[in-house]
């Protein structure tokens, strides 16, 4: 199932709507948001997804994280 999420990349100036599949992992969600914001923020090789202030493991899927349509995710790039 496709789920629209409100994504906020740290360092960016605006929130974006990213459409992800509930089978996708947090690593893929982070990559998706970084790509969407790449015109303003250079993507980093690694980034962590935070939901309600808690970091999620990169392997956790959208469904496992219990994310619902229009939930907020924050993505923070990690130093290489």
């Amino acid at each position: 199932m496709l789920i629209p999420l409100y994504g906020f990349l740290r360092g960016d100036t605006i929130g974006l709507v990213v459409l992800v599949h509930d089978r996708q992992t947090m690593a893929e969600v982070a990559a998706c948001l970084q790509e969407a914001a790449s015109v303003r923020v250079a993507p980093a090789p690694s980034a962590r997804v935070y939901v309600r202030g808690r970091p999620l493991e990169p392997s956790v899927t959208v469904a496992e994280a219990g994310l619902r349509p229009l939930d907020r995710v924050d993505v923070v790039q990690e130093a290489a």
């Binding site: 360092g11 100036t13 605006i14 974006l16 015109v39 303003r40 923020v41 250079a42 229009l70 907020r72």
Partner: protein
Amino acid sequence: MLRRDEWIDLARKLDWEYSYVDEREVFPELTSGRPWLPHAAWAGWDEPYKTSFTEYVVNQSAKDADVYAARDAVGRVEDFQKLDPAWLGSLKLHGATLPLAEFAAVVGNLRAARFGRDSAWRTMATFAALDEFRHTQIPLLIMHELIRFDPQFDWTHRFLHSNDWVAIAGRHLVDELLLAANPIEIAIATNFVFETGFTNLQFIGLSAMAHSAGDQVFERMVQSIQTDEARHSQIGLPVLRTVIEHDRDYAQYLIDKWFWRSWLFFAVVTGFSMDYLTPLAHRTQSFKEFMDEWILDQFQRALDDVGLARPWYWPQFLDALENYHHMVYASAYTYRATVWFDFALPGPAERAWLRDKYPRTWPLLDPIWERISARWRDAGPQVEWYTHGVTPVTFCHLCQLVLCGGTPAHNSARWLEHEGESYVFCSEPCEWIFRSEPERYQRHKDVVKRILTGEAPANLVELVRGYFGLSQDCWGRDVRRGDYPWLHAARPDAEGGR
């Protein structure tokens, strides 16, 4: 023959006691506003600067003649073609947001001209409605001449009739501010907060900027509008004083609500112009300096005078003053095809100026412009899409503007579950306004919800063309199409480049 001061009160104060109907039927609370008070409570309503119909007509006629003279002398297409393209972007932005918002003000003032609670108030509101007709017609007249040289000027009229995201936000503001509000709320929200607090002084700053940029027509137009605003904005204070006397909490609520709502729109329109679209050589002060000097001192003094507190979110507002319009401008630059005016890319000199003016916040914003500049450098001039976003952006359910609150380090967006629905807001004050009157706001759909319910297309090109109503000859671009000397100089393969 009577002297002016002997008859002016008879002309402006003409109230009588009703014998066939009840006062509440003549001025129902629904249309006249709350607190509902008998006329005796309003009888002392007094405007400091008084005018008669004859004086009004004579003065306005002279002001119109002055604007038309400037247009005839220096308002030809060739005159506008000499202006800096970035300044023209500012002109298109102001041109579009002025006329139909002013026309909504005609409606709001006419409601006050009928349902205001004192005859002097109603007389002033009648003048104000006539003022707002001028403010609708003058920009339409001046910008209409320019459509043949640049079709983006057509948006002076088209803007508020469109579903462009800025227009949705603009309508959400002016519909509530002017079309749906009762005369008491209009007086406090529009005359006291929006006009006395913001636009009256904004127009002084704008006319100075226009003068510096060599745009004499816009300068005269704004000066002409400002003198009207200065007169009719005085409706607000006597209404506010009476409301404070009978319901202080409600008065404070209206101030807090409308200062925030006015600020957001003002920051976008005026912040863009002062810090980005006015050529660097013509800038006299930053948007923040302008706000500090002209708006904040004056507004805080006005609140002190009536014994009200500063809005509860004042510290957040002061933070926003150094961030919000920068956040929106950088975002909008990378979604410029979604609006009807062109954007300037700040170069090294502009960025140094911004760093100097915003030393606390600019370090977090500068990397965004470094990134955008690098992409222009990679792509070369004309390749607009390489510095343009394609993913739908997010919107605040209250102000309908993009979620650009906070800083690049922390976006201040907030979530609220209300009656089984999820709502998102750009800031705590926007959430607070929604929570205060959810029935007023909950059914309005922002652009994202319109996309998700199928009312608007998700594909950005389809959204821009089919829903926002922007054609290829009108949508926004970079003012120089990425062709900046400093970008060439920094290109590794350029002669003499590094």
